[in-house]
Amino acid sequence: MTGRSLRAASAAALAAALLLGAAACTAPSGGGTRAADGGTAVVGIAYEPDTLSPLLGYGKDGNSKIFDGLLAHDADMRLRPALAAELPEVSPDGLTYTYTLRRGVTFQDGEPFDAEDVVFTYRTILDEKTNNPSRAELDALRGVRAEGSHTVVFTLAYPYAPFAQRTVLPIAPEHIAGRQDVNTGKFTTEPIGTGPYILTGWSRGEKLSFKANPHYWGGEPQVERFTMAVIQDDDVRATRLRAGDLDGAVLPPALAEGFARDRNLRTHRATSYDYRTVTLPTGNPVAGDTAVRRALDIAVDRQAMVDGILNGAGRPAYGPVPTGSPWFTAGTERRHDPEAARRILDEAGWKPGKDGIRTRDGVRAAFPLWYVTGDKLRQDHALAYASDARSIGIDITTQAGSWEVIEPRMKDDAVLAGGGAPGDPDFDQYLLLHSDHAGDGFNNMARYDNPAVDEALEQGRRAGDEAARRRAYDTVQRELAKNPGYTFLTHIDHVYVLADTWDGLSTQVEPHDHGLASGPWWNVETWTPKGAAR
């Protein structure tokens, strides 16, 4: 072989490789550039979902865009019918929920939606071969059956008052999802639902693209193309918003402030159930002591944390229920009172030692407090907490680690944790406070064990009567003030900055996990262009 032919051959090979590479990746071409028309919106979010299959847990709290639930939440988190024609009929014993379905609804592929799809969705989630980590949320559900093509009956194993709240869960099409592997089938990445938006592309770690569903039963959305760019880094998200690459983004309060003077952008602030708390493990001789817990509870300066750490975008937290919620028990607010905290410790026999740290029966009032590495917000909370504790003679050492490091230590060491779910007080309180869930995964990390709270939580979920439920959750909050196994610090507002080109933007009360479903775009399907001119 000569040199010339060698060169020719290698050039040909290279060209072939390039062509092959290009050919292997051809995708449908067409329009879709970022035009100035009012029909597109691009927003930046921090985290993308792991899956888009409702059977694996996607969109279980609503606002899934691609899908609808039987019910949905409105702006005030009240339930309204979606795929159901009306709110469910509940039997007097609270064990049977009957839903009449909306007629004439079709999936995005044109196939009709009916009761079999609902039954399929719930049965598949309950199947233990389905890798759905949120299955326990349907713990009360014993069975679901169709009665005719447009009626679905749910039977519960025990009366569970917030059950209707769980039925915002998106409904999957049986004719597609039923024919493939539920855990790894195509449906998990190329979903088809009844919802206002059709997924046109999901480039993992980059973006999710949607187009309006022209046959949506609720009317065709006016935002025709909707894109969610996945950008983990807060600074990059802010830069891309400033550069005009994004129309809106979720931002930390400090970065959002930089856009306050931009007249084309508006800041939206959503209140939330998203709390930061310190777990005080029952098994720890110091943190498990009621006097120490009560002293810490009033020694922390929550308002200072809201002002200093959150730039005012938040409010002091006294329990999982935020102060602005209708479920909040007035009178359980705790005043910042380090003097009273010292008295409580003195009376309980915790005497200050030479270094200012208290001891009792040879036990030094000290314990470690863990937070997740890299989470600035939790780090700041942890440091502020430790400094407040130190002022009353309790020595808290803050330590950073990944969850792999923290998990085995949760039993004895304190952790700066976060959580919170709106919808119903049962959702997070039962898992957080009930002794049955002590040390169950990441639920009840403090292993809080208070029989009065256990009883009230049971009453709260079983009682059908609104007033009885209210009394139960009042009891929980009062008991938490008497024996605070967690020191709740703050509820955090979520801040969003968006271009001021649409009408109809609002925010819901948001949960701890505010990914794709939260933010002012929770109802993007009802946005309208600002002014008739667009």
């Binding site: 040199g3 060698l6 390039l18 590479g21 326990a136 855990n183 195509k186 480039s203 869930h437 995964g441």
Partner: protein, 321 residues
């Protein structure tokens, strides 16, 4: 030649077996928990029973040796298993991404080889000249610069400061269709960064090889016969000076792969490398194993290719390796 290729393929089998076993062993020893990675934030409120069930469903409750044997048995039947973290069959995930990685790597490699050769020849023509001194100094600097750092620098300069090229991804944010024009624009930065990080090696080798060849008898003979300088340089000196570079093409493949790993991550390029990072942190055994096999195969192929090319280009070298 065919014999040599066949012998190498046979030799690759135990290597691949060993490598996959190593991957399973390392992944099993890592502190990351596959179930925690799989369930994500939902796992934080899941019940232990629920998590245990998922552990069993994913098959990660078994010892890693059993899982490795399962995976090998499946792979032999053509089933690479299912990726837990991507929630799709591994074969689909690889097929979806391989093309983009090949495109990026091929573009970068072509850039490195072409530019490296061109500058190498020019520099060798006048050793110690201004071009030689400049290019060599830059080459040593670039060789010391990690690819991800170059990538961040390029994003800062071209995307943030000047706004002339997109900072990442495959297409514009608002667009969901893949057009050749958009891909080309998005390919420029990552391919340039990856190519430039590989370029110094080729440049330095070519410069040295051609420089040495220019002093050799055949070149002197060619000059004495009065051949044009161009023919002497490209036809005689370059051809003989290219030999060490052919070796380099094969041995740079592993570097190219690790470089791509960093570059794809920095530029959110939807290729294999990005999936590798995800698979590693999520302890996704089947995906990790498949990707490692792919990388190992690429390295072995690269070595084979350079040996074959060497044999073709230099008659003194036989095919008995």
């Amino acid at each position: 030649m065919a014999r040599m290729a066949g012998r190498r393929v046979l030799l690759a089998v135990p290597v691949l077996l060993l490598v996959t076993f190593g991957v399973f062993a390392v992944a099993a020893a890592s502190p990351f928990d596959p179930v925690t990675a799989y369930t994500g934030t939902a796992g934080l409120t899941a019940s232990q029973e629920n998590l245990d069930q998922i552990r069993a469903n994913l098959g990660v409750d078994q010892p890693f040796t059993a899982r490795w044997a399962d995976w090998i048995a499946g792979a032999l039947r053509g089933d690479l298993g299912d990726s837990a973290v991507l929630r799709m069959p591994v074969a689909d995930a690889v097929a979806e991404r391989l093309g983009w990685s090949v495109l990026l790597a091929a573009a970068a490699f072509a850039l490195a080889v072409l530019l490296g050769t061109a500058f190498g020849v020019l520099a060798a023509r006048r050793p110690g000249g201004p071009l030689d001194r400049c290019a060599t100094a830059i080459a040593y600097t670039l060789e010391a610069a990690p690819a991800f750092w170059l990538g961040l620098l390029a994003i800062w300069l071209f995307s943030l400061q000047w706004g002339v090229l997109p900072a990442g991804g495959l297409t514009d944010t608002a667009s969901d269709t893949v057009t050749a024009g958009q891909v080309a624009r998005h390919l420029v930065l990552p391919a340039a960064v990856l190519g430039i990080s590989q370029l110094p090696w080729f440049y330095l080798y070519v410069r040295q090889g051609v420089g040495d060849a220019l002093d050799e008898d055949p070149v002197r003979g060619a000059r004495a016969r009065g051949l044009a300088e161009r023919t002497v340089l490209l036809g005689h000196a370059l051809r003989s000076g290219m030999l060490p570079m052919l070796t380099l093409i094969g041995s740079r493949v592993p570097e190219l792969i690790t470089g791509a790993l960093l570059v794809e991550t920095v530029f959110s390029w939807p290729g294999i490398a990005a999936a590798t990072v995800q698979a590693a942190t999520a302890v996704d055994f089947p995906l990790l194993a498949a990707l490692t096999v792919l990388a190992t195969a690429a390295v072995l192929l690269g070595n084979l290719l350079s040996d074959l090319l060497y044999g073709l280009a230099d008659p003194r070298v036989g095919f008995d390796g």
